[in-house]
């Protein structure tokens, strides 16, 4: 039986006249206009004041005040800062303030060759680094107009799905901790550790792998990778059932998450929100399914959607996407072809170490690639992949040289953060923590 909060959530939808949308519904710009809550001025959800204006701002109304939250708050996933305008316990307007982790990675990307580029972009979304590497590599390959070998493509898919699982497990850990269920943190990190161990075995590093590179992947899968993967696939379902037992049916969990931070599909589309947030509103959109890249068109999997667009749906979608990824990994294990793990184009991939000792040309190619880098034909492309947080795009402009003229990453967390003021409005400050947590922003990607 649904709890009162859940009923409240659907009642709210009815009042706003925008119940859960079926996947067949298409949203026209007019509908988006109708559902829009994006006024400018004082009754909007966003506190549109600069930092210095906020300092001097005296809210009208005697119970109103402006409260600062973060950037060192443990629930803000790194260094997200929020300024909340509150009336008692209720949040009115709010403004996310970002930039505390800005290190100019897009500028740095212009100084690095395409081969070095992946070491840079992998540090953006540090909980799912392989996706940024993938987007960057796919964009570079599109500019080069090369096809990577079949095995490299399937290895990329395998790695990305393993990474999606570890990223969603990290979400389970941090989300639980934010809500106050410290047990979830221990469980989530334990399972994630298993996956990181496998990723370390394959790539050599637990994070920031620099494994997917333009032209293929850095190394072939090591001996025993299949058994290790299977062992995880066999162990994980029981552990995920533990999450279900601990949280999915638990009344306190429902109280904290259901009906909190509700958003609808039209709002999500208008704000450019993608990923589990968009799917939680019942809108089935997943780039893997709808605009397949790699070989996702040969894989059988489901796109999971929610019904109410609240925090609980976002939690449940991420939990079940782990199961869906396991299904994908099993199919990849069956279909993994033999062959080369990177393209045998001497201009793009460095020669194997052994060849350098016996071939002058190999030595020259090796030297050229690592000192100058390879030249990429002039042009510009935008390539997008579905990261655990939504659409992760990479826009590269090449001037024909060995370094990108401009490299831009469209981080899903950056755009998704815009939804926070709309979710927080008229909620309790205690719910703010739940909302931030289920948006699951990774600040490395937000600030870049």
């Amino acid at each position: 039986m649904p709890s009162e909060r859940y009923l409240f959530s659907s009642k709210m939808h009815q009042e706003r006249g925008d119940g859960p949308m079926s996947t067949d519904d298409t949203i026209t710009a007019d509908q988006a206009d109708a559902a829009r809550v994006f006024q400018r001025g004082d009754d909007s959800a966003i506190l549109r004041l600069s930092e210095s204006e906020i300092q001097a701002y005296k809210p009208s109304g005697k119970r109103r005040m402006v409260v600062n939250m973060g950037p060192q708050h443990p629930s803000t996933h790194g260094v997200l800062r929020l300024t909340l305008e509150m009336e008692g316990e209720t949040v009115l307007r709010s403004k996310p303030i970002i930039g505390y982790l800005h290190t100019g990675m897009e500028k740095t990307g212009e100084q690095l060759t395409y081969l070095q580029g992946t070491t840079n972009v992998t540090r953006m979304d540090y909980s799912s680094p392989l996706f940024t590497e993938l987007a960057f590599s796919l964009a570079t390959e599109k500019l080069l107009d090369i096809e990577v070998p079949e095995r490299a493509t399937w290895i990329r898919m395998l790695m990305c799905e393993l990474n999606r699982m570890s990223s969603h497990l990290l979400f389970q850990a941090t989300n639980g901790m934010d809500i106050g269920a410290v047990g979830a943190m221990i469980y989530g990190w334990r399972e994630r550790e298993e996956l990181l161990r496998l990723l370390e075995k394959i790539t050599g590093l637990r994070m920031n792998h620099n494994y997917i590179r333009p032209g293929g992947v850095a190394a072939d899968l090591p001996d025993g990778w299949r058994d290790d993967t299977l062992r995880i696939l066999d162990d994980l379902p029981d552990r995920l059932d533990d999450f279900d037992g601990l949280f999915t049916g638990q009344p306190i969990w429902h109280e904290r998450l259901q009906g909190v931070g509700v958003i609808n599909s039209a709002e999500c589309l208008a704000l450019g929100v993608t990923g589990p947030l968009l799917r939680s509103t019942g809108y089935a959109w997943d780039l893997r399914k709808d605009m397949p890249y790699l070989r996702y068109d040969q894989i059988d999997f489901d796109v999971l959607v929610g019904t109410y667009g609240d925090c609980f749906d976002r939690f449940a979608i991420r939990l079940n996407e782990i199961r869906e990824s396991m299904r994908i990994v099993r199919q990849i294990l069956e279909k993994m072809p033999n062959g080369d793990y990177r393209i045998q184009d001497k201009k793009v991939t460095p020669p194997p170490r052994a060849r350098i000792d016996e071939s002058m040309e190999a030595l020259i190619h090796h030297f050229k690639i690592f000192t100058e880098g390879f030249k990429v034909p002039a042009g510009e492309v935008y390539v997008a992949v579905e990261s655990p947080r939504g659409e992760l795009g990479c826009y590269i402009v090449s001037d024909g040289g060995p370094k990108p003229y401009r490299m831009h990453i469209r981080g899903p967390s950056f755009t998704n953060l815009q939804v926070l003021p709309h979710m927080l409005k008229n909620g309790l400050v205690a719910d703010a923590v739940a909302v931030i947590s289920t948006v699951d922003p990774i600040m490395g990607e937000v600030d870049r």
Partner: protein, 182 residues
């Protein structure tokens, strides 16, 4: 067969269902188009910019997925229709249609002397943070934006880091014979 061959010859590329018109003078939404690696690119002028985006939004492109800019200071050569005169800055906007499963990209030329562009906030509110980022890092202003302040850099920062004439900081490397070393 005959048709297929001719269409190949005139370099008609398709991505999704949209036929990318061939040749430089092709128009879509009354705007010059080009194809970049099979991806459809529109080249509106600044005056056409808002109107084009409005038409795109009415045409099912429900999401403004990305908005960024490029500073072509050191690389004025680029692949745009000959009728469009290249300027220093270029704002690049990506749209996504869920119903057609297509993407479309806009490239607008912005002169250095007057780096201003109308905001698309009223059509796509999701462009708010993206436009702030471009304002912050490139110094291109968006007219009518509700909150045009710096987003990534500190409020008091001087300059726009992603411009090509903004130098990259360097940390000097200390070698063996640096003063004070052994």
């Amino acid at each position: 067969m005959e048709e297929e061959k001719t269409s190949e010859d005139t370099s008609t590329a398709t991505e999704g269902n949209i036929k990318i018109p061939s040749g430089e003078e092709s128009l879509l939404y009354e705007v010059l188009t080009s194809s970049s690696r099979g991806q459809l690119v529109l080249h509106p002028t600044r005056d056409q910019y808002l109107d084009t985006i409005y038409q795109i939004s009415k045409d099912g492109f429900a999401v403004c997925i990305d908005l960024t800019a490029v500073d072509y200071l050191e690389n004025p050569e680029r692949d745009i229709p000959s009728a469009i005169s290249p300027e220093r800055f270029e704002v690049v906007v990506n749209f996504l249609s869920h119903t057609k499963k297509e993407r479309i990209r806009l490239r607008v030329q912005i002169p250095e002397s007057d780096p201003v562009l109308p905001t698309v906030f009223d059509i796509y509110p999701g462009s708010e943070a993206l436009e702030r980022e471009v304002y912050d890092l490139f110094g291109i202003e968006f007219e009518g934006h509700p909150d045009l302040t710096r987003i990534l850099m500190p409020e008091t920062w001087d300059g726009h880091p992603l411009r090509k004439d903004y130098a990259v900081g360097e940390i000097p490397v200390q070698f063996k014979d640096a003063p004070g070393a052994g």
